[in-house]
């Protein structure tokens, strides 16, 4: 386990899950890869499968349809896995709290699968790319203390 944590201190690989977002957070997540922010200089890349991911970047309010799929994606990730709840919706369902099609919320859905899950909250609607970079750095700091 110590070796796993040591390996996670750098080059986090990110899998992006949209659980019912309006796209704003998603385009800002993609923005991180592009020349202005260029998060790849920290060794971070977006990967195509949760099985390769160290971080789940979750956006959206977690709708009833998406909730079981989000849980399945989390089950497939190798542990420890940091869940980054990006945006007001993923934090606390935001403006959609009262809507009829909402699931339990990202953190509740993840905690139902794994009570010890590491969840990083990035508030904002949408958070600026700088905030997401700060969250990623804090997540790395947290992993160092495990």
């Amino acid at each position: 386990m110590a070796l796993m944590n040591w390996a996670l201190r750098k080059s986090l690989w990110v899998y992006h899950v949209n659980t019912g977002a309006c796209n704003n957070c998603d385009i800002e997540v993609l923005e991180l890869l592009t020349p202005k922010y260029d998060i790849e200089r920290f060794g971070m890349v977006l990967v195509g499968s949760p099985r390769h991911a160290d971080v789940l970047a979750v956006t959206g309010a977690c709708t009833r349809q998406a909730q079981p799929r989000l849980q399945e994606a989390y089950r497939q990730t190798p542990k420890p896995c940091v869940v980054m709840a990006i945006g007001a919706c993923a934090n606390a369902q935001g403006i959609f709290t009262e809507a009829y099609h909402m699931g339990a919320g990202v953190d509740v859905a993840i905690k139902a699968v794994d009570p010890d899950a590491i969840i990083a909250y990035v508030p904002g609607c949408p958070p600026k790319p700088e905030a997401m970079i700060a969250a990623a750095v804090k997540a790395m700091e947290l992993i160092k203390t495990l």
Partner: protein
């Protein structure tokens, strides 16, 4: 229909950031049928709006789709303004035009980048998103946020843009012009992109009309439709601009139209910044009387249509949204079938589908009792009963 093989894509997959589910039926490498299943990002916005006041709804509809977050509130607000017979101040109309055109540049460049990424042209992806950055900055200057603008309100706009900021916006879009001309030239003249995009995912004119395609998808198939020209709103009838129509209907035509529209949007913004009159920015609407109206706006992807009904109270009684992807997504049936499996990704991407706009929820209702039976357990029970029936027959 006999299918040789089936490929399921989704709901979470790296092709697009949103969750959607495609089933492709293949015969060898030819696609013979395609099935699209959506609803993973359905949030029930129309219902949610009925519990918000007229002034709160723009903030909700802005979050229908983040990329069209300038178009949806405007369409809703135009519907409400029609109910209340509001005369919007001239300056507010110009400010709306500027923000909407900036949003169009950002959306089209985003698409060009993603299309390049799907084709394995990551240079195009990086270029397009790099040249998009000044537009995002201009939007931040104009509205205070990069993607959620919240600048439209019933009767005008919420926040004025100062002359100094207008000059900054002008400078930023002028600065991107040369870069985008270079990108357009590079895309339109590239022999590999010609080979990869020409004649791919063709949507014929007849099919475009049959499916009711709109926006660049329709214009790429020879449909001369654009709400900005056909039913002018904001300040579009006071400005000089052109609409582009291509007859071929392939992915190349759609890409070309989007790139040309970016240059046209820069032209519109420069004119609007130059011509903008002074004065009030808000008509100060107090009451929304009973009535119903529609508002439509040319979003980057096509016509966004909003219907609002009011009964004289503070809340809309009914709010219906029809986003452009609702028309454009079914055109996959016409453009994907017969295509090569390797061309499907770009064909699906070519309409710039936006699922968060389009999501619907289906409910199975018993025809006799009118009782809803969308409960998953009940569906499982129905399925088990059917298996039991078939087993008995055999």
């Amino acid at each position: 229909m006999s299918h040789k093989s089936m490929i399921s894509i989704g709901p979470f997959h790296p092709l697009q950031e949103e969750a959607e589910f495609f089933q492709l039926y293949l015969d060898g490498e030819r696609v013979v049928d395609v099935d699209v299943r959506i609803s993973y990002t359905h949030r029930g916005i129309e219902k949610l709006d009925e519990s918000k006041t007229f002034d709160q709804v723009p903030f909700v509809v802005e979050r229908v789709c983040g990329i069209c977050s300038a178009s949806h509130p405007l369409a809703y607000i135009q519907a409400v303004e029609e109910i209340a017979h509001v005369k919007v101040p001239e300056r507010a109309l110009y400010l709306r035009t500027i923000v909407n055109e900036l949003a169009r540049i950002h959306s089209h460049l985003l698409w060009v980048g993603l299309a390049g990424h799907f084709l394995g042209y990551n240079t195009v992806f990086m270029w397009a998103w790099k040249y998009r950055e000044p537009t995002m900055e201009a939007l931040e200057i104009a509205t205070g946020s990069r993607v959620n603008y919240a600048n439209c309100k019933i009767g005008g706009v919420r926040r004025d843009i100062t002359d100094e900021h207008l000059k900054m916006i002008d400078r930023l879009v002028t600065g991107t012009r040369g870069d985008i001309e270079m990108l357009t030239g590079a895309v339109i003249d590239d022999p590999v992109l010609h080979a990869r995009l020409k004649g791919v995912g063709v949507l014929s004119k007849a099919d475009a009309y049959a499916y009711g395609a709109c926006g660049p998808t329709g214009r790429g198939s020879g449909m001369p439709i654009d709400v900005r020209r056909d039913d002018p709103y904001a300040a579009y009838d006071r400005l000089d601009w052109n609409m582009f129509v291509e007859e071929t209907g392939d992915v190349f035509a759609k890409a070309k139209i989007r790139l040309l529209e970016v240059l046209e949007s820069i032209k519109i913004i420069k004119q609007a910044v130059h011509d903008i009159p002074g004065g009030e920015i808000d008509a100060k609407v107090e009451n929304i009387p009973a009535g119903e109206a529609i508002g439509h706006v040319e979003a980057p992807r096509g016509e966004t249509f909003h219907y609002v009904r009011s009964d004289g109270s503070n809340y809309p009684v009914r709010h219906k949204i029809r986003a452009p992807s609702y028309n454009n997504v079914p055109t996959f049936k016409a453009s994907c079938i017969g295509a090569d499996i390797s061309d499907v990704a770009i064909t699906l991407a070519s309409v710039d589908p936006c699922y968060s706009c389009t999501e619907r929820m289906c409910t199975a209702v018993d025809a006799e009792s009118g009782k809803e039976m969308f409960d998953f357990a009940q569906l499982v029970k129905l399925s088990q009963e059917k298996t039991e029936r078939i087993r008995k027959q055999i």
